[in-house]
């Protein structure tokens, strides 16, 4: 089992083994339930489909409702799939909690970053300001969009535009604390998105 969904609770501070204070993010990971098992014989690959966060029946569409009924589980708000090596280890209806993570382990956390709206080049691409005084007229404008003689703008030119609300993954965060009873995961460092933002937490693989 390699991944679970959770919600960002907020940030706090953690004392590590040496007594140093470390920035930490608290993530609320309610147990996910196995809704379907995908097998190599049928779907061509091995995975489990998981449901996160209980939701009243009226909140899901009828086709989805039948899908949940077939599995015999209460409807969930989010469905996601996690690849597994051996699908026979899991049963439909089985609940999986944060216990799959252990302190000291590294995880990758994926979420949607905070939306910043339409931003200029200074905030969006870290362009420099121009001097505010000594006869300067334009302080935050993007400057030139390309060299002279090149009668076009290069593709991918950094311009003002919409910033944030992207899918962002932060890799190799250390797990500081796991509390399966209350569904709490504490991770070192920060995590994308606002409080209550949906996150996918995966075990990091390899050493890096």
């Amino acid at each position: 089992m390699l991944a679970l969904m959770g919600r960002k609770v907020g940030m706090t501070q953690w004392f590590d083994g040496e007594g140093r204070a470390v920035a930490a993010t608290v993530i609320h990971v309610e147990p996910s339930v196995v809704v379907q098992i995908r097998r190599p014989e049928v779907e061509g690959y091995a995975a489990v489909q998981l449901g996160y966060e209980k939701v009243p029946e009226r909140k899901v569409t009828k086709p989805l409702l039948s899908h949940f009924r077939k599995a015999g589980v209460e409807p969930r708000r989010h469905l996601y799939e996690v690849r597994v090596e051996d699908p026979d280890e899991f049963q439909v209806g089985q609940e999986i909690d944060v216990g799959i993570f252990s302190p000291g382990e590294k995880v990758d956390v994926t979420g949607t970053s905070k939306g910043r709206g339409f931003q200029g080049t200074i905030k969006r691409w870290d362009f420099s300001y121009r001097p505010k005084s000594h006869g300067h007229k334009w302080i935050k404008r993007p400057g030139t969009s390309g060299p002279m003689g090149l009668n076009k703008v290069m593709k991918g030119k950094k311009m003002p535009g919409h910033m944030g609300a992207d899918r962002v993954t932060v890799r190799r965060l250390e797990v500081l604390h796991v509390d399966p009873e209350n569904g709490i995961l504490v991770v070192k460092g920060s995590v994308p998105g606002p409080k209550k933002g949906l996150l996918l937490i995966r075990k990091s693989h390899g050493q890096g």
Binding site: T12, G19, V26
Partner: protein
């Protein structure tokens, strides 16, 4: 349970088992700090006036000022850090009314506020 309660619960891991006496800015306290030197561990005591308390929960800190060898020294401790063994209150102040009594820096002797 709200999300703030969840954070408080997580922080209680550090705060529940630790008894901190009541003290406020202006009081004179003694902070016992554990210091590890290689494999050896010893306790260092820092005694001085409380200049400010800040933060809440496991993040609360206290800033203590003392005069060491004629030089004013201020240190900020995490109250709930595992390295802070204990905090003793030496003397409570009845004179200080401010939450941040920085004017105490003008006194060369901390016991002056008696």
């Amino acid at each position: 349970m709200g999300y703030d309660d969840l954070i408080r619960m997580v922080e209680s891991k550090f705060t529940v088992d630790k008894e901190i006496p009541e003290f406020r800015p202006g009081d004179i306290i003694r902070v016992h700090e554990r210091i590890r030197e290689g494999s050896r561990e010893r306790t260092v005591v820092f005694e001085g006036v409380v200049l400010k308390r800040s933060g809440s929960g496991a993040r609360s800190t206290v800033t203590v000022r003392k005069i060491a060898a004629g030089v004013g020294v201020e240190r900020t401790f995490y109250i709930y850090s595992p390295n802070v063994e204990k905090i003793e209150v030496v003397k409570r102040s009845r004179k200080v009314r401010q939450a941040r009594p920085f004017y105490l820096r003008r006194y060369s002797n901390i016991h002056h506020i008696r």
